[in-house]
Symmetry: C2
Subunit: 386 residues, 2 copies
């Protein structure tokens, strides 16, 4: 096998564009000097369109989970009643963080592979008027579901004073996200998915309503205290030493997004989703999720006549193609293909081409080229990509 | 289109493996210090298997053409009679270099797209006993021909005292090359093709017979004087400042080749050739070269019902996939796909997938997935790649 070729198609971390890699390699600078101030000044306004907000996007050095914990400790305190919508492993993580802080968590468990039902929330909120916050996952990485966040916001705000707190880690940057227009109170994402960076940064937006709660919240916190980040960012700075090389990279990521055009980035992700799904449908291999609830960034496949792990093993051994397996009770039952960030329709063709060969290698009698053809047809129907 | 994705599939320069890129980025060192000596000592023995020689492989900083000129100025002088076998643009280059030095050049012109006929050389040498050297091209990049160098060596050595001087620029490293066993007197290659490096180094092997000529040759030369390189290399050094970052990269290239195994590298190239050719045959699109004369590193396609340039344009615009056009009289008539060095069967699937879509975009009614399927079938017939 060709040495040093790594086809990284797990649902994050995702591959780093070469120009971003180069940007991250630049000479280290002092974190309190003018160069860092200039860098933050350059980044600040250009992050906003990705989140669909006029607010400053706060940047905390840490992984996505640090971002989720930031959302929790700033908005709620022990004893507060919250609802966590659990559509997979990452909804579950919100529950665990809340429990660690003695927050009174109610779970709304949805079968893994389905999106939540906003109508359920409406009823729930009427029956539970003291709910302080509703936690939801935008893209549930463990299942490839894209949840209806816009509808959730409408229903929560019409029926309660609860905040809507959203984990957008595995899709923001690749999927249209309108924090202000939809009314997301706190949105968290990470750097290592559609944002095309290594893990190590988490991005957080906060609504005016959420700030009122955050300012008053008695929950103890220090490093993750969003008030510190807002105050520093107003001065183009950070409260603690930032992960500077990732900021160098982020500056270049923003160049790439602007070069392609943000709407084109979203169109590309939508196209990659459709190509991938059409390919598996053509091959007669079941998808875990329904079309109308599928994420543009990750596709979960639930085979019924071969072992997902056998396929993953062959693809890794022969092509160094990594896709993810299933988590928790879906372990061994599904595999998940990441098509986010630095990934193109041409890469989807390559992935499907490898899947087809590897299926034959594990003994499944599919017709070669059939999945590829379906993906190609989707591409051609789409017209010219900008 | 995804910004910063460049699918570079011209027949060289070829893509650089990430670990080689990183190696080249290491801190600059002095070219006369111990570290450089150690580096050359590490490289020297490990280059030999790639060339199939026990002789030291000389390294000149310069492009492939500098290597071709090195071969000329060291072995012949004004007035010497030489035969240049011209199977394409790079055979032609040998002619031009010889002419620039007033060498008495005879051409043996072969139709572009065919390999030369060793039997012709036998007759020719009998009729021209004063020929001092026969120049040939191993892989003719302009047509994708792999010429029969082993047979050439046998015939030349059995029928004359002429040296066999070979341009191996676009294949050595990807194709079995046995300098000692076949009796190649001077073999030249460049760094930017199957050697997985940027352009800037040229590698030259010299037989004992050739050294006898070179030592005595009155032709004026300085930078390209191979005697200087042999003398320095014996002491793990170079006569002039070497292109050090490329040597850093070469050290890592050798690691990658050893990790994969040299025979596996050759098998991979052979497989990529067969996959590519099968795909175009399945699509009913003519290849320029016959199967038994085709190079494992580059494939030339000669379409008869669409414009090569239209296809190249769409592939570049929509996928940033670069393949080469034709040279000289084949300009606009063929296109050439490089599958050498840092290129895998998975990459061939991607290229063919893009070719199929792009053919439809320019109005050719091919059946989607057909070329891919043929390539996949070749892969599956090949069994497991090591």
């Amino acid at each position: 096998m060709l040495a040093d070729q790594h086809l990284l198609r797990i649902p994050g971390p995702s591959p780093i564009p070469p120009s971003v890699q180069r940007a991250m390699n630049q000479t280290m600078i002092g974190h309190r000097g003018k160069e860092t101030k200039d860098l933050i000044q350059r980044i600040k306004p250009r992050l906003k369109p990705i989140f669909g907000t006029e607010q400053d996007v706060l940047i905390v050095s840490g992984s996505g989970t640090a971002g989720l914990e930031t959302a929790v400790v700033n908005t709620v305190k022990p004893g507060d009643e919250v609802l966590v919508i659990v559509t997979g492993a990452f909804g579950d993580r919100f529950v665990k963080i809340c429990q660690a802080y003695d927050v009174a968590v109610q779970r709304y468990d949805v079968e893994w592979g389905a999106a939540f039902d906003p109508a359920y929330i409406k009823t729930y909120l009427k029956d539970h008027p003291n709910i302080k916050a509703v936690f939801a996952t935008y893209c549930e990485t463990s299942t490839g579901i894209l949840n209806p966040i816009q509808e959730l916001c409408t229903i929560v705000h019409e029926n309660s004073n609860a905040l809507v707190i959203v984990d957008g880690v595995s899709c923001v940057g690749g999927v249209d996200t309108e924090v202000d227009a939809w009314g997301i109170d706190v949105l968290v994402t990470g750097s290592q998915k559609a944002m095309m960076l290594p893990a190590g940064l988490t991005f957080i937006t906060v609504s005016e309503e959420a700030w009122k709660i955050i300012e008053q919240n008695k929950q103890a916190r220090f490093y993750l205290d969003l008030r510190k980040y807002r105050k520093s960012l107003a001065d183009d700075s950070t409260p603690f030493t930032p992960a500077l090389s990732l900021l160098f990279g982020l500056d270049q990521v923003l160049n790439l997004v602007e070069e392609e055009g943000l709407q084109n980035v979203y169109t590309r992700h939508e196209l990659m989703k459709k190509m991938t799904r059409s390919a598996f449908k053509a091959m007669g291999i079941p998808l875990l999720t329904a079309d109308d609830a599928a994420s543009p960034t990750v596709t979960a496949i639930r085979p019924n006549d071969f072992a997902a792990e056998d396929l993953r093993k062959v693809m890794k051994q022969e092509f160094n193609l990594s896709v993810a397996g299933g988590q928790q009770h879906l372990q061994g039952k599904i595999f998940r293909i990441g098509h986010m960030g630095y990934c193109s329709p041409a890469d989807v063709l390559q992935i499907i081409g490898i899947v087809e060969i590897s299926l034959r290698k594990i003994g499944k009698q599919i017709e070669l080229g059939q999945g590829i053809r379906a993906a190609q047809e989707v591409y051609l129907q789409q017209g010219v990509l900008a």
